[in-house]
Symmetry: C2
Subunit: 209 residues, 2 copies
DNA sequence: TGTACATCAGTGAACGCGCGTTCACTGATGTAC
DNA sequence: TGTACATCAGTGAACGCGCGTTCACTGATGTAC
């Protein structure tokens, strides 16, 4: 004869039934935002569906308004989140937030893995087209992160390389954005790869000239 | 006493009241498509509102289905139209459809007038972001016109210039698309101008190297 | 060339679906005593 | 530490608006004779 004692962890129990501790709310809030930030990079600023988003976060749609005043509010927050999440990733690797070198930055940016995972990639490329039609708040966020990207390029230069003029760094960023955008917009995989490679060469030669 | 004879021109009469001659239908069809092609370049592939579109064409929404089987059908046709309309414009001037030179092409593409009038500009830049999330038909159209753009660059070279490798032409196209996209996505007008100028320099120096 | 009729482009009311938002309710959390 | 109560995160039905689509109708076009 044996006695089996079943201990149900509070956290597990709460997660499976109806939990609403403060900690869990924060966790849910963060999860919703993160998923929204991913979703808009994959499908655009208009692509957020409240019910679908909540479902993907493991919740029901009604609770959405305990977290955000409106869908519009969420999109604005998710936009900012997409840029910060994407910046970390674009800098090369999920861990560090400084690129090892300008060359690494360019190669990582125009890589197939970045092309094939816009949801976790740089928001500048993922959303530049949409933001061209959006309000000035959205434009301001992009602007900030575009400048940060250009700065990252400059900082990634070796000591003995000549400093990168501001305009030139911006032009290289433009090439990266255009190359990645087109690589995603083209049907033929070979042409897509060629776009990545060719733009990479253009950017790298511009870096060292 | 005088007799006034009022002659109402059939064409005018028809246009002001309810006209439905074959010629007018074709005219209306073309007008609707052209406006839709403009609208999607301005506001994106999802931005077509049937009632609004018909109103802008001087018609009411009910008649839409005498012209297109569905909204989806219209968008597909308008997409193709946007590319052909935009190509003529991007080549420099509304009249000719061959650029005078590669330099003119680049300068026209990255001009303020092009930046400030996406509705009449190149559909590659206006819609590349959207098409990255669209179906393979849309991608195929972009692909065709992207190649045509790269070819136009090559043909615009002077006799004594070295021929442009395929990949390099594509990379320059990528830079143009990125530069114009960012110039439209940025709030600060000075930064926007700088993006145009810097990308222009990058593209021109890539052309002659 | 004129007359009768069929066609069909265009009109505007109405329908119905999708989706953002609201609301009454549940039950665990967390606080007051 | 235990008990009573207020709070509030989450649920799911219901609401209402926007918008694509349908439909009965109008009247000019265009064709048959």
């Amino acid at each position: 004869m044996s006695i089996i004692i079943l201990i149900v962890k509070p956290s597990l129990k709460a997660r499976s039934s109806m939990g609403h501790s403060r900690a869990e709310k924060a966790e849910h809030h963060d999860r919703i935002l993160g998923l929204a930030a991913q979703r808009i990079r994959e499908a655009g600023l208009d692509a957020i569906n409240v019910a679908e988003l909540m479902r993907s976060a493991g919740l029901t749609h009604g609770g959405f308004y305990r977290h955000f005043a409106s869908r519009e509010d969420l999109v604005a927050e998710a936009l900012a989140r997409a840029f910060t999440d994407g910046a970390a990733r674009a800098m090369g690797g999920q861990e560090r937030n400084e690129p090892r070198s300008a060359g690494h930055f360019v190669r990582g940016y125009l890589s197939k893995t970045h092309r094939d995972d816009p949801g976790h990639g740089c928001a500048i490329t993922a959303l530049a087209g949409d933001i061209g039609r959006a309000d000035s708040d959205a434009k301001a966020i992009l602007e900030t992160h575009l400048k940060a990207g250009a700065d990252a390029l400059s900082r990634g230069l070796a000591e003995d390389e000549p400093p990168l003029p501001h305009g030139k760094a911006l032009a290289i960023m433009a090439a990266l954005v255009g190359g990645l955008t087109l690589a995603r917009a083209v049907g033929d995989p070979h042409l897509s790869d060629l776009l990545l490679r060719s733009t990479r060469e253009l950017a790298l030669s511009a870096l060292s000239s």
